[in-house]
Subunit: 306 residues, 2 copies
Protein backbone atom coordinates (compact mmCIF):
# COMPACT_ATOMS: atom_id res chain seq x y z
CA UNK A 1 0.00 0.00 0.00
CA UNK A 2 1.44 3.36 -1.04
CA UNK A 3 -1.45 5.69 -0.32
CA UNK A 4 -4.21 5.59 2.22
CA UNK A 5 -7.11 7.82 3.28
CA UNK A 6 -8.03 7.79 6.96
CA UNK A 7 -10.92 9.35 8.84
CA UNK A 8 -10.84 10.00 12.60
CA UNK A 9 -13.94 11.17 14.50
CA UNK A 10 -14.71 14.16 16.68
CA UNK A 11 -14.68 13.51 20.42
CA UNK A 12 -16.16 14.80 23.65
CA UNK A 13 -13.49 15.10 26.33
CA UNK A 14 -14.04 16.17 29.95
CA UNK A 15 -17.22 14.12 29.93
CA UNK A 16 -18.91 15.70 32.95
CA UNK A 17 -17.01 14.49 36.04
CA UNK A 18 -14.32 12.71 33.96
CA UNK A 19 -11.74 15.47 33.44
CA UNK A 20 -8.72 14.05 31.58
CA UNK A 21 -10.01 10.53 32.31
CA UNK A 22 -13.01 9.87 30.03
CA UNK A 23 -13.59 10.69 26.38
CA UNK A 24 -16.21 9.67 23.82
CA UNK A 25 -15.99 9.45 20.03
CA UNK A 26 -19.08 10.75 18.21
CA UNK A 27 -20.47 10.46 14.71
CA UNK A 28 -20.99 13.25 12.23
CA UNK A 29 -17.72 15.19 12.26
CA UNK A 30 -14.06 14.37 11.94
CA UNK A 31 -10.84 14.87 10.05
CA UNK A 32 -9.54 13.14 6.95
CA UNK A 33 -5.87 12.51 6.22
CA UNK A 34 -4.63 11.35 2.84
CA UNK A 35 -1.15 9.88 3.24
CA UNK A 36 1.41 8.81 0.65
CA UNK A 37 4.58 6.84 1.28
CA UNK A 38 7.72 8.73 0.31
CA UNK A 39 11.26 7.53 -0.20
CA UNK A 40 12.58 10.60 1.56
CA UNK A 41 12.39 10.21 5.33
CA UNK A 42 10.26 12.42 7.57
CA UNK A 43 6.92 14.13 7.21
CA UNK A 44 5.75 16.73 4.74
CA UNK A 45 2.33 18.33 4.76
CA UNK A 46 1.34 19.03 1.18
CA UNK A 47 -2.05 20.60 1.74
CA UNK A 48 -4.54 21.54 4.42
CA UNK A 49 -8.16 22.35 3.64
CA UNK A 50 -11.11 23.35 5.80
CA UNK A 51 -9.01 25.28 8.32
CA UNK A 52 -9.45 28.75 6.83
CA UNK A 53 -5.70 28.92 6.41
CA UNK A 54 -5.08 28.88 10.15
CA UNK A 55 -3.12 25.65 10.65
CA UNK A 56 0.67 25.57 10.14
CA UNK A 57 2.05 23.34 7.38
CA UNK A 58 5.32 22.96 9.28
CA UNK A 59 5.02 19.31 10.42
CA UNK A 60 6.58 19.95 13.83
CA UNK A 61 3.92 22.57 14.61
CA UNK A 62 0.95 20.62 13.32
CA UNK A 63 -0.61 17.76 15.32
CA UNK A 64 -0.98 15.62 12.22
CA UNK A 65 2.69 16.19 11.43
CA UNK A 66 3.90 15.45 14.96
CA UNK A 67 1.77 12.31 15.25
CA UNK A 68 2.92 11.08 11.83
CA UNK A 69 6.55 11.73 12.74
CA UNK A 70 6.25 9.83 16.01
CA UNK A 71 4.43 6.98 14.28
CA UNK A 72 7.21 6.77 11.67
CA UNK A 73 9.71 6.23 14.49
CA UNK A 74 7.72 3.13 15.53
CA UNK A 75 7.95 1.66 12.03
CA UNK A 76 11.02 -0.42 11.29
CA UNK A 77 11.17 0.56 7.62
CA UNK A 78 12.96 3.55 6.11
CA UNK A 79 10.98 6.22 4.33
CA UNK A 80 8.61 9.03 5.08
CA UNK A 81 5.13 10.25 4.46
CA UNK A 82 3.41 13.10 2.66
CA UNK A 83 0.09 14.21 4.12
CA UNK A 84 -2.99 16.07 2.90
CA UNK A 85 -5.24 17.11 5.74
CA UNK A 86 -8.93 17.91 5.39
CA UNK A 87 -10.57 19.44 8.46
CA UNK A 88 -14.22 18.47 8.60
CA UNK A 89 -14.94 20.17 11.89
CA UNK A 90 -14.49 23.66 13.24
CA UNK A 91 -11.18 24.43 14.96
CA UNK A 92 -11.26 25.37 18.63
CA UNK A 93 -14.81 24.11 19.06
CA UNK A 94 -14.16 21.67 21.92
CA UNK A 95 -14.66 18.61 19.74
CA UNK A 96 -11.07 17.45 19.64
CA UNK A 97 -10.05 18.87 16.30
CA UNK A 98 -6.30 18.60 16.91
CA UNK A 99 -6.74 15.10 18.29
CA UNK A 100 -8.68 13.90 15.25
CA UNK A 101 -5.89 15.15 12.98
CA UNK A 102 -3.30 13.38 15.11
CA UNK A 103 -5.24 10.11 15.27
CA UNK A 104 -5.92 10.09 11.53
CA UNK A 105 -2.30 10.86 10.67
CA UNK A 106 -0.87 8.27 13.07
CA UNK A 107 -3.22 5.56 11.82
CA UNK A 108 -2.39 6.51 8.22
CA UNK A 109 1.32 5.96 8.88
CA UNK A 110 0.46 2.70 10.63
CA UNK A 111 -1.42 1.47 7.57
CA UNK A 112 1.41 2.43 5.24
CA UNK A 113 4.15 0.94 7.42
CA UNK A 114 2.52 -2.20 8.79
CA UNK A 115 1.72 -1.27 12.38
CA UNK A 116 -1.45 -3.15 13.25
CA UNK A 117 -2.09 -2.25 16.90
CA UNK A 118 -3.86 1.04 17.51
CA UNK A 119 -2.73 1.05 21.14
CA UNK A 120 0.88 1.26 19.97
CA UNK A 121 0.10 4.64 18.41
CA UNK A 122 -1.27 6.27 21.53
CA UNK A 123 2.07 7.72 22.66
CA UNK A 124 2.52 9.22 19.18
CA UNK A 125 -0.92 10.86 19.40
CA UNK A 126 -0.27 12.04 22.95
CA UNK A 127 2.99 13.66 21.87
CA UNK A 128 1.03 15.51 19.20
CA UNK A 129 -1.55 16.76 21.69
CA UNK A 130 1.18 17.79 24.10
CA UNK A 131 2.70 19.94 21.36
CA UNK A 132 -0.47 22.03 21.01
CA UNK A 133 -2.78 21.69 24.01
CA UNK A 134 -1.29 19.70 26.85
CA UNK A 135 -0.60 16.07 27.73
CA UNK A 136 -4.05 14.52 27.81
CA UNK A 137 -5.50 11.48 26.08
CA UNK A 138 -9.23 11.99 26.48
CA UNK A 139 -9.53 13.23 22.89
CA UNK A 140 -6.85 11.21 21.09
CA UNK A 141 -7.82 8.00 22.90
CA UNK A 142 -11.42 7.86 21.65
CA UNK A 143 -10.61 9.41 18.25
CA UNK A 144 -8.10 6.62 17.64
CA UNK A 145 -9.86 3.68 19.32
CA UNK A 146 -13.51 4.71 19.01
CA UNK A 147 -16.26 4.52 21.62
CA UNK A 148 -16.04 5.50 25.27
CA UNK A 149 -12.43 5.46 26.41
CA UNK A 150 -11.09 5.44 29.96
CA UNK A 151 -7.55 6.62 30.62
CA UNK A 152 -7.09 5.10 34.05
CA UNK A 153 -3.43 6.09 34.32
CA UNK A 154 -1.03 8.43 32.51
CA UNK A 155 2.17 7.16 34.13
CA UNK A 156 2.25 4.42 32.92
CA UNK A 157 -0.31 4.97 30.18
CA UNK A 158 -3.29 2.65 30.78
CA UNK A 159 -6.29 2.90 28.55
CA UNK A 160 -9.39 0.80 27.92
CA UNK A 161 -12.61 0.98 25.94
CA UNK A 162 -15.83 0.81 27.93
CA UNK A 163 -19.29 -0.28 26.77
CA UNK A 164 -21.92 2.35 25.97
CA UNK A 165 -25.71 2.16 26.11
CA UNK A 166 -26.97 1.27 22.59
CA UNK A 167 -29.46 4.15 22.51
CA UNK A 168 -27.01 6.80 23.70
CA UNK A 169 -27.44 10.01 21.68
CA UNK A 170 -25.32 13.11 22.12
CA UNK A 171 -26.69 16.51 21.22
CA UNK A 172 -23.79 18.75 20.22
CA UNK A 173 -24.48 22.46 19.93
CA UNK A 174 -21.57 24.57 18.71
CA UNK A 175 -21.94 28.35 18.90
CA UNK A 176 -20.14 30.71 16.54
CA UNK A 177 -17.71 31.71 19.26
CA UNK A 178 -14.18 30.68 20.06
CA UNK A 179 -12.85 29.82 23.52
CA UNK A 180 -9.05 29.75 23.31
CA UNK A 181 -7.89 26.39 24.66
CA UNK A 182 -5.09 28.12 26.58
CA UNK A 183 -7.58 30.33 28.43
CA UNK A 184 -9.89 27.37 29.08
CA UNK A 185 -6.94 25.50 30.61
CA UNK A 186 -5.82 28.53 32.61
CA UNK A 187 -9.09 28.79 34.54
CA UNK A 188 -8.96 25.15 35.66
CA UNK A 189 -8.36 25.21 39.42
CA UNK A 190 -5.04 23.77 40.58
CA UNK A 191 -6.28 22.84 44.05
CA UNK A 192 -9.67 21.22 44.55
CA UNK A 193 -11.63 21.13 47.83
CA UNK A 194 -12.04 17.56 49.11
CA UNK A 195 -15.84 17.71 49.09
CA UNK A 196 -15.77 18.47 45.36
CA UNK A 197 -13.38 15.59 44.78
CA UNK A 198 -15.83 13.29 46.58
CA UNK A 199 -18.77 14.68 44.59
CA UNK A 200 -17.02 14.17 41.25
CA UNK A 201 -15.72 10.72 42.25
CA UNK A 202 -19.27 9.66 43.02
CA UNK A 203 -20.70 10.91 39.73
CA UNK A 204 -17.81 9.48 37.74
CA UNK A 205 -18.43 6.10 39.38
CA UNK A 206 -22.13 6.36 38.60
CA UNK A 207 -21.27 7.10 34.97
CA UNK A 208 -19.01 4.05 34.75
CA UNK A 209 -21.69 1.84 36.31
CA UNK A 210 -24.28 3.19 33.87
CA UNK A 211 -21.97 2.49 30.93
CA UNK A 212 -21.73 -1.18 31.95
CA UNK A 213 -25.45 -1.41 32.71
CA UNK A 214 -26.37 0.19 29.39
CA UNK A 215 -28.47 2.79 31.22
CA UNK A 216 -28.59 6.00 29.18
CA UNK A 217 -30.67 7.93 31.72
CA UNK A 218 -28.26 7.12 34.56
CA UNK A 219 -25.29 7.87 32.29
CA UNK A 220 -26.68 11.29 31.50
CA UNK A 221 -27.71 12.09 35.06
CA UNK A 222 -24.13 11.43 36.15
CA UNK A 223 -22.94 14.28 33.91
CA UNK A 224 -22.54 16.49 36.96
CA UNK A 225 -19.19 18.23 37.33
CA UNK A 226 -18.38 20.19 40.48
CA UNK A 227 -14.82 21.02 39.43
CA UNK A 228 -14.24 22.03 35.80
CA UNK A 229 -17.64 23.15 34.53
CA UNK A 230 -18.13 25.84 37.20
CA UNK A 231 -14.66 27.22 36.37
CA UNK A 232 -15.26 27.35 32.63
CA UNK A 233 -18.95 28.19 32.38
CA UNK A 234 -18.35 31.96 32.24
CA UNK A 235 -16.15 31.55 29.14
CA UNK A 236 -19.20 30.55 27.07
CA UNK A 237 -21.84 33.27 26.71
CA UNK A 238 -25.25 31.94 27.71
CA UNK A 239 -23.96 28.58 28.95
CA UNK A 240 -26.21 28.36 32.03
CA UNK A 241 -29.29 29.22 29.96
CA UNK A 242 -28.32 26.69 27.29
CA UNK A 243 -27.86 24.00 29.92
CA UNK A 244 -31.15 24.82 31.60
CA UNK A 245 -32.88 24.75 28.20
CA UNK A 246 -31.43 21.30 27.50
CA UNK A 247 -32.58 19.90 30.85
CA UNK A 248 -36.01 21.51 30.52
CA UNK A 249 -36.33 19.92 27.09
CA UNK A 250 -35.72 16.52 28.66
CA UNK A 251 -31.95 15.96 28.40
CA UNK A 252 -30.62 13.58 31.07
CA UNK A 253 -27.50 15.69 31.47
CA UNK A 254 -25.61 18.57 29.89
CA UNK A 255 -22.12 20.01 30.16
CA UNK A 256 -19.24 21.56 28.22
CA UNK A 257 -17.53 19.44 25.56
CA UNK A 258 -13.78 19.58 26.07
CA UNK A 259 -12.65 23.17 26.54
CA UNK A 260 -15.84 24.43 24.86
CA UNK A 261 -17.64 26.29 23.43
CA UNK A 262 -19.56 23.22 22.20
CA UNK A 263 -22.15 22.17 24.75
CA UNK A 264 -23.28 18.55 24.78
CA UNK A 265 -26.46 16.99 26.13
CA UNK A 266 -27.34 13.34 26.70
CA UNK A 267 -30.56 11.74 25.45
CA UNK A 268 -31.85 8.43 24.08
CA UNK A 269 -33.42 9.09 20.69
CA UNK A 270 -32.98 11.18 17.56
CA UNK A 271 -36.38 12.82 18.04
CA UNK A 272 -35.64 13.83 21.63
CA UNK A 273 -32.20 15.00 20.52
CA UNK A 274 -33.63 17.26 17.85
CA UNK A 275 -36.05 18.87 20.29
CA UNK A 276 -33.28 19.34 22.87
CA UNK A 277 -30.95 20.74 20.21
CA UNK A 278 -33.57 23.26 19.08
CA UNK A 279 -34.08 24.44 22.65
CA UNK A 280 -30.33 24.82 23.19
CA UNK A 281 -29.91 26.66 19.90
CA UNK A 282 -32.67 29.07 20.88
CA UNK A 283 -30.98 29.74 24.21
CA UNK A 284 -27.67 30.49 22.46
CA UNK A 285 -29.58 32.79 20.12
CA UNK A 286 -30.91 34.70 23.12
CA UNK A 287 -27.29 35.13 24.24
CA UNK A 288 -26.55 36.60 20.81
CA UNK A 289 -24.84 33.57 19.29
CA UNK A 290 -25.82 31.56 16.26
CA UNK A 291 -25.02 27.86 16.54
CA UNK A 292 -25.12 24.53 14.74
CA UNK A 293 -26.75 21.39 16.10
CA UNK A 294 -25.60 17.81 15.55
CA UNK A 295 -27.44 14.88 17.12
CA UNK A 296 -24.71 12.25 17.19
CA UNK A 297 -24.34 8.61 18.10
CA UNK A 298 -21.26 6.95 19.54
CA UNK A 299 -18.58 6.38 16.89
CA UNK A 300 -17.44 2.91 17.89
CA UNK A 301 -14.81 2.48 15.17
CA UNK A 302 -12.49 5.44 15.75
CA UNK A 303 -9.76 6.05 13.16
CA UNK A 304 -10.45 4.03 9.99
CA UNK A 305 -9.71 3.73 6.32
CA UNK A 306 -12.20 5.38 3.97
CA UNK B 1 -42.37 -10.78 65.98
CA UNK B 2 -41.34 -9.43 69.38
CA UNK B 3 -37.63 -10.22 69.42
CA UNK B 4 -35.05 -10.49 66.71
CA UNK B 5 -31.30 -11.10 66.46
CA UNK B 6 -29.47 -9.33 63.65
CA UNK B 7 -25.89 -9.59 62.40
CA UNK B 8 -24.19 -6.87 60.34
CA UNK B 9 -20.75 -7.40 58.78
CA UNK B 10 -17.46 -5.57 59.00
CA UNK B 11 -16.63 -3.30 56.06
CA UNK B 12 -13.68 -1.80 54.22
CA UNK B 13 -14.26 1.88 53.54
CA UNK B 14 -11.94 4.21 51.62
CA UNK B 15 -11.30 1.37 49.19
CA UNK B 16 -8.11 2.68 47.61
CA UNK B 17 -9.07 5.63 45.40
CA UNK B 18 -12.73 5.57 46.53
CA UNK B 19 -12.66 7.87 49.59
CA UNK B 20 -16.23 8.28 50.97
CA UNK B 21 -17.56 6.79 47.72
CA UNK B 22 -16.89 3.01 47.79
CA UNK B 23 -17.21 0.47 50.58
CA UNK B 24 -17.13 -3.31 50.73
CA UNK B 25 -18.73 -5.71 53.20
CA UNK B 26 -16.48 -8.64 54.21
CA UNK B 27 -17.01 -11.99 55.90
CA UNK B 28 -15.62 -13.10 59.23
CA UNK B 29 -16.35 -10.23 61.61
CA UNK B 30 -19.35 -8.17 62.54
CA UNK B 31 -21.74 -7.03 65.26
CA UNK B 32 -24.83 -8.72 66.64
CA UNK B 33 -27.86 -6.86 67.98
CA UNK B 34 -30.63 -8.59 69.92
CA UNK B 35 -33.70 -6.38 69.89
CA UNK B 36 -36.97 -6.65 71.79
CA UNK B 37 -40.14 -4.68 71.17
CA UNK B 38 -41.18 -2.55 74.14
CA UNK B 39 -44.46 -0.81 74.91
CA UNK B 40 -42.58 2.19 76.21
CA UNK B 41 -41.42 4.41 73.34
CA UNK B 42 -37.76 5.09 72.57
CA UNK B 43 -34.58 3.10 72.76
CA UNK B 44 -32.90 1.48 75.74
CA UNK B 45 -29.58 -0.36 75.60
CA UNK B 46 -29.71 -3.16 78.12
CA UNK B 47 -26.27 -4.65 77.60
CA UNK B 48 -23.11 -4.32 75.56
CA UNK B 49 -20.52 -7.06 75.37
CA UNK B 50 -17.20 -7.38 73.57
CA UNK B 51 -16.34 -3.66 73.87
CA UNK B 52 -14.20 -3.89 77.00
CA UNK B 53 -16.61 -1.50 78.68
CA UNK B 54 -15.77 1.36 76.35
CA UNK B 55 -19.05 2.03 74.59
CA UNK B 56 -21.70 4.28 76.16
CA UNK B 57 -25.08 2.73 77.02
CA UNK B 58 -26.76 6.10 76.62
CA UNK B 59 -28.68 5.51 73.37
CA UNK B 60 -28.09 9.02 72.02
CA UNK B 61 -24.31 8.50 72.31
CA UNK B 62 -24.21 5.00 70.85
CA UNK B 63 -24.48 4.36 67.10
CA UNK B 64 -26.78 1.40 67.66
CA UNK B 65 -28.99 3.58 69.83
CA UNK B 66 -29.05 6.50 67.39
CA UNK B 67 -29.77 4.25 64.41
CA UNK B 68 -32.52 2.42 66.30
CA UNK B 69 -34.08 5.72 67.36
CA UNK B 70 -34.07 7.07 63.79
CA UNK B 71 -35.45 3.79 62.47
CA UNK B 72 -38.27 3.92 65.04
CA UNK B 73 -39.28 7.33 63.65
CA UNK B 74 -39.77 5.68 60.25
CA UNK B 75 -42.14 3.08 61.70
CA UNK B 76 -45.78 4.08 61.90
CA UNK B 77 -46.49 2.07 65.07
CA UNK B 78 -46.09 3.22 68.65
CA UNK B 79 -43.60 1.54 70.92
CA UNK B 80 -39.91 1.27 71.44
CA UNK B 81 -37.05 -1.14 71.45
CA UNK B 82 -34.60 -2.62 73.95
CA UNK B 83 -31.20 -3.61 72.55
CA UNK B 84 -28.41 -5.93 73.53
CA UNK B 85 -25.26 -5.30 71.52
CA UNK B 86 -22.48 -7.83 71.02
CA UNK B 87 -19.31 -6.48 69.42
CA UNK B 88 -17.61 -9.21 67.42
CA UNK B 89 -14.84 -7.02 66.07
CA UNK B 90 -12.26 -4.72 67.63
CA UNK B 91 -13.25 -1.08 68.10
CA UNK B 92 -11.29 1.57 66.21
CA UNK B 93 -9.74 -0.99 63.88
CA UNK B 94 -10.84 0.57 60.58
CA UNK B 95 -13.38 -2.14 59.87
CA UNK B 96 -16.51 -0.09 60.40
CA UNK B 97 -17.33 -1.16 63.94
CA UNK B 98 -19.69 1.74 64.65
CA UNK B 99 -21.35 1.26 61.27
CA UNK B 100 -21.98 -2.45 61.86
CA UNK B 101 -23.69 -1.63 65.16
CA UNK B 102 -25.83 1.00 63.45
CA UNK B 103 -26.77 -1.24 60.54
CA UNK B 104 -27.64 -4.17 62.80
CA UNK B 105 -29.74 -2.00 65.14
CA UNK B 106 -31.59 -0.25 62.31
CA UNK B 107 -32.39 -3.53 60.57
CA UNK B 108 -33.52 -5.01 63.88
CA UNK B 109 -36.03 -2.21 64.37
CA UNK B 110 -37.10 -2.65 60.75
CA UNK B 111 -37.82 -6.34 61.35
CA UNK B 112 -39.79 -5.62 64.52
CA UNK B 113 -41.80 -2.77 63.03
CA UNK B 114 -42.46 -3.97 59.51
CA UNK B 115 -40.05 -1.88 57.42
CA UNK B 116 -39.00 -4.09 54.50
CA UNK B 117 -36.72 -1.85 52.41
CA UNK B 118 -33.13 -1.65 53.55
CA UNK B 119 -32.59 1.51 51.52
CA UNK B 120 -35.17 3.29 53.67
CA UNK B 121 -32.88 2.79 56.66
CA UNK B 122 -29.81 4.40 55.17
CA UNK B 123 -30.56 7.89 56.52
CA UNK B 124 -31.00 6.38 59.99
CA UNK B 125 -27.61 4.67 59.74
CA UNK B 126 -25.99 7.81 58.36
CA UNK B 127 -27.33 9.85 61.26
CA UNK B 128 -25.73 7.33 63.61
CA UNK B 129 -22.36 7.57 61.84
CA UNK B 130 -22.57 11.36 61.84
CA UNK B 131 -23.01 11.28 65.61
CA UNK B 132 -19.68 9.52 66.13
CA UNK B 133 -17.39 9.79 63.12
CA UNK B 134 -18.73 12.07 60.40
CA UNK B 135 -21.35 11.98 57.67
CA UNK B 136 -20.19 9.18 55.42
CA UNK B 137 -21.95 6.09 54.09
CA UNK B 138 -19.07 3.94 52.88
CA UNK B 139 -19.27 1.77 56.00
CA UNK B 140 -22.99 1.80 56.80
CA UNK B 141 -23.95 1.33 53.13
CA UNK B 142 -22.18 -2.01 52.65
CA UNK B 143 -22.81 -3.20 56.23
CA UNK B 144 -26.54 -2.74 55.68
CA UNK B 145 -26.85 -3.76 52.01
CA UNK B 146 -23.91 -6.15 51.63
CA UNK B 147 -21.38 -6.39 48.81
CA UNK B 148 -19.60 -3.53 47.07
CA UNK B 149 -21.53 -0.32 47.52
CA UNK B 150 -21.18 2.91 45.59
CA UNK B 151 -22.39 6.15 47.13
CA UNK B 152 -22.56 8.25 44.00
CA UNK B 153 -24.12 11.26 45.72
CA UNK B 154 -24.67 12.43 49.29
CA UNK B 155 -27.04 15.31 48.47
CA UNK B 156 -29.39 13.73 47.51
CA UNK B 157 -28.31 10.34 48.82
CA UNK B 158 -27.79 7.97 45.88
CA UNK B 159 -26.47 4.51 46.51
CA UNK B 160 -26.16 1.31 44.48
CA UNK B 161 -24.67 -2.15 44.83
CA UNK B 162 -22.03 -3.11 42.27
CA UNK B 163 -20.98 -6.59 41.16
CA UNK B 164 -17.76 -8.11 42.51
CA UNK B 165 -15.41 -10.70 41.00
CA UNK B 166 -16.43 -14.15 42.34
CA UNK B 167 -12.89 -15.02 43.43
CA UNK B 168 -12.23 -11.72 45.21
CA UNK B 169 -10.43 -12.35 48.52
CA UNK B 170 -9.51 -9.64 50.99
CA UNK B 171 -6.61 -10.11 53.36
CA UNK B 172 -7.28 -8.07 56.50
CA UNK B 173 -4.39 -7.58 58.89
CA UNK B 174 -5.21 -5.74 62.09
CA UNK B 175 -2.31 -4.69 64.31
CA UNK B 176 -2.66 -4.25 68.05
CA UNK B 177 -2.58 -0.49 67.74
CA UNK B 178 -5.27 2.15 67.72
CA UNK B 179 -5.51 5.06 65.30
CA UNK B 180 -8.04 7.52 66.70
CA UNK B 181 -10.64 8.16 63.98
CA UNK B 182 -10.56 11.89 64.78
CA UNK B 183 -6.82 12.07 64.12
CA UNK B 184 -7.16 9.98 60.95
CA UNK B 185 -9.81 12.41 59.72
CA UNK B 186 -7.75 15.45 60.74
CA UNK B 187 -4.81 14.55 58.49
CA UNK B 188 -7.02 14.23 55.40
CA UNK B 189 -6.06 17.13 53.12
CA UNK B 190 -8.77 19.74 52.56
CA UNK B 191 -7.41 20.86 49.17
CA UNK B 192 -6.19 18.35 46.61
CA UNK B 193 -3.87 19.13 43.67
CA UNK B 194 -5.63 18.59 40.34
CA UNK B 195 -3.10 15.99 39.16
CA UNK B 196 -3.90 13.83 42.18
CA UNK B 197 -7.62 14.21 41.49
CA UNK B 198 -7.01 12.99 37.93
CA UNK B 199 -4.86 10.10 39.18
CA UNK B 200 -7.49 8.95 41.69
CA UNK B 201 -10.34 9.43 39.20
CA UNK B 202 -8.55 7.16 36.77
CA UNK B 203 -7.90 4.40 39.30
CA UNK B 204 -11.42 4.64 40.70
CA UNK B 205 -12.79 4.25 37.18
CA UNK B 206 -10.50 1.26 36.59
CA UNK B 207 -11.80 -0.29 39.81
CA UNK B 208 -15.42 0.18 38.74
CA UNK B 209 -14.70 -1.33 35.32
CA UNK B 210 -12.95 -4.30 36.96
CA UNK B 211 -15.92 -4.85 39.25
CA UNK B 212 -18.24 -5.17 36.25
CA UNK B 213 -15.76 -7.29 34.31
CA UNK B 214 -15.21 -9.60 37.28
CA UNK B 215 -11.45 -9.04 37.02
CA UNK B 216 -9.87 -9.47 40.46
CA UNK B 217 -6.35 -8.63 39.31
CA UNK B 218 -7.47 -5.36 37.69
CA UNK B 219 -9.63 -4.58 40.73
CA UNK B 220 -6.64 -5.00 43.03
CA UNK B 221 -4.22 -3.12 40.81
CA UNK B 222 -6.59 -0.14 40.88
CA UNK B 223 -6.16 0.08 44.66
CA UNK B 224 -3.86 3.06 44.19
CA UNK B 225 -4.67 6.14 46.23
CA UNK B 226 -2.76 9.37 45.68
CA UNK B 227 -4.82 11.39 48.16
CA UNK B 228 -5.75 9.73 51.45
CA UNK B 229 -3.25 6.89 51.87
CA UNK B 230 -0.16 9.15 51.67
CA UNK B 231 -1.71 11.41 54.33
CA UNK B 232 -2.53 8.59 56.73
CA UNK B 233 0.34 6.16 56.17
CA UNK B 234 2.48 7.65 58.95
CA UNK B 235 -0.27 7.02 61.51
CA UNK B 236 0.26 3.25 61.18
CA UNK B 237 3.70 2.03 62.33
CA UNK B 238 5.30 -0.08 59.61
CA UNK B 239 2.60 0.58 57.02
CA UNK B 240 4.95 0.98 54.04
CA UNK B 241 6.80 -2.22 54.95
CA UNK B 242 3.52 -4.09 55.40
CA UNK B 243 2.29 -2.88 52.03
CA UNK B 244 5.53 -3.81 50.31
CA UNK B 245 5.42 -7.24 51.95
CA UNK B 246 1.88 -7.76 50.66
CA UNK B 247 2.80 -6.79 47.10
CA UNK B 248 6.00 -8.87 47.19
CA UNK B 249 3.91 -11.83 48.35
CA UNK B 250 1.72 -11.44 45.27
CA UNK B 251 -1.16 -9.20 46.37
CA UNK B 252 -2.72 -7.27 43.47
CA UNK B 253 -3.11 -4.20 45.64
CA UNK B 254 -2.90 -3.05 49.26
CA UNK B 255 -4.05 -0.02 51.22
CA UNK B 256 -5.49 1.18 54.53
CA UNK B 257 -8.96 -0.05 55.51
CA UNK B 258 -11.08 2.91 56.56
CA UNK B 259 -9.17 5.10 58.97
CA UNK B 260 -6.84 2.20 59.83
CA UNK B 261 -4.91 0.60 61.40
CA UNK B 262 -6.22 -2.49 59.56
CA UNK B 263 -4.39 -2.91 56.25
CA UNK B 264 -6.17 -4.80 53.47
CA UNK B 265 -4.74 -6.59 50.46
CA UNK B 266 -6.47 -7.96 47.37
CA UNK B 267 -5.96 -11.48 46.05
CA UNK B 268 -7.89 -14.28 44.36
CA UNK B 269 -7.60 -17.40 46.55
CA UNK B 270 -7.52 -18.49 50.16
CA UNK B 271 -4.04 -20.00 49.75
CA UNK B 272 -2.60 -16.84 48.26
CA UNK B 273 -4.38 -14.83 50.94
CA UNK B 274 -2.83 -16.86 53.74
CA UNK B 275 0.67 -16.41 52.32
CA UNK B 276 0.12 -12.68 51.85
CA UNK B 277 -1.33 -12.39 55.35
CA UNK B 278 1.68 -14.14 56.87
CA UNK B 279 4.06 -11.79 55.07
CA UNK B 280 2.11 -8.74 56.24
CA UNK B 281 1.97 -10.04 59.80
CA UNK B 282 5.71 -10.53 59.77
CA UNK B 283 6.26 -6.98 58.56
CA UNK B 284 4.06 -5.63 61.36
CA UNK B 285 6.03 -7.76 63.78
CA UNK B 286 9.25 -6.11 62.58
CA UNK B 287 7.63 -2.76 63.35
CA UNK B 288 6.99 -4.03 66.86
CA UNK B 289 3.27 -4.80 66.47
CA UNK B 290 1.46 -8.08 66.85
CA UNK B 291 -1.49 -8.49 64.52
CA UNK B 292 -4.35 -10.78 63.52
CA UNK B 293 -4.98 -12.00 59.98
CA UNK B 294 -8.37 -12.68 58.39
CA UNK B 295 -8.67 -13.82 54.79
CA UNK B 296 -12.19 -12.71 53.94
CA UNK B 297 -14.64 -12.98 51.08
CA UNK B 298 -17.25 -10.45 50.09
CA UNK B 299 -20.26 -10.53 52.41
CA UNK B 300 -23.03 -10.17 49.87
CA UNK B 301 -25.96 -10.27 52.30
CA UNK B 302 -25.21 -7.37 54.65
CA UNK B 303 -27.42 -7.01 57.74
CA UNK B 304 -29.46 -10.17 58.30
CA UNK B 305 -31.42 -12.17 60.83
CA UNK B 306 -29.52 -14.92 62.64
Amino acid sequence: MDTVTIFAPATIANLGPGFDVLGLAVTGKGDVVEARKTVAPGVTIEAISGDGGRLPRDPVKNTAGVAAGEALKLARERGGVALKLRKDMPLGSGLGSSAASAAAAAWAVAQLYGISEKEALLPACLAAEAAVSGYHADNVGPSLLGGLVLISSYHPLQIQTLPTPPDLHLVLVTPAYEVPTAQARAVVPKQIPLEKVIANSGQLSAMLAASFKGDTAAFGRAVVDAIIEPARAHLIPGFQQVKEAALRAGAYGCSISGAGPTVFAVTDSLEAGQAIGAAMQEAFQEAGLSSTVNVALVDAAGARQL
